[in-house]
Symmetry: C2
């Protein structure tokens, strides 16, 4: 490992309302519920205990002040969990925000830390 | 708690080289060492065990591939720890990067989640 190897970054974005209300974990969980129509399936895909996935969901709902999932029973698709309108707006808002930040950060990071950046490889 | 209460955000920025190499913890530690000239004093201020502060410093140095602290013994100031030139550049680079991201994020967040933003308080 030398000072010429590239440095990379990660951004971790968390939202707060009444306590922490949204972040990468709940975003991934909602995305998977949206596809599988099941909190249990979403939890399994993430190697989470169902009880933990349920708790993450409930804590997020409590902090946000609105429901994220509607449970449907029966019907042609045999029931399952679907995202509320608010959950979809929240997920899209969060993911859009994170994507926008990452695009900006890529440019800012390259300028500061990348090849030709101000921090490394500068002529002395 | 209602859907009209404001949502806020936090950004957590971590840098990687050979593993994680820089983040808010090491940045705060270096800032305090720079002021106190002592890793022990810096650790105490942060309620960290000295052994933990030392480990954080060493892991960061290993991942970065350069030293962050020089130990000075004796001299008119009675010795102590001082930041290397690379540590100072790294700290300034990281803090500048984080400040720049936060300024951009403030604007993007307000646009998406703030009063008048697209997510909440919109007319239906």
């Amino acid at each position: 490992m030398s000072a010429q190897d590239p440095i990379t970054f990660t951004l971790f974005v968390r939202l707060f309302r009444d306590g922490k209300c949204f972040g990468p974990g709940i975003a991934e969980l909602l995305t998977r519920v949206d596809r599988t129509r099941s909190l249990r399936s979403a939890a399994m895909e993430m190697n989470l205990a169902y009880s933990k996935a349920w708790r993450i969901m409930k804590e997020s709902e409590q902090a946000l002040g609105f429901a994220l999932l509607n449970s449907q029973t029966g019907g042609v698709h045999g029931g399952g969990a679907v995202l509320t309108e608010e959950a979809r707006a929240m997920l899209e808002g969060y993911e859009g925000f994170v994507a926008e930040l990452n695009a900006f950060a890529d440019e800012a990071f390259e300028r500061r830390f990348g090849i030709g950046g101000s921090l490394f490889l500068k002529e002395k």
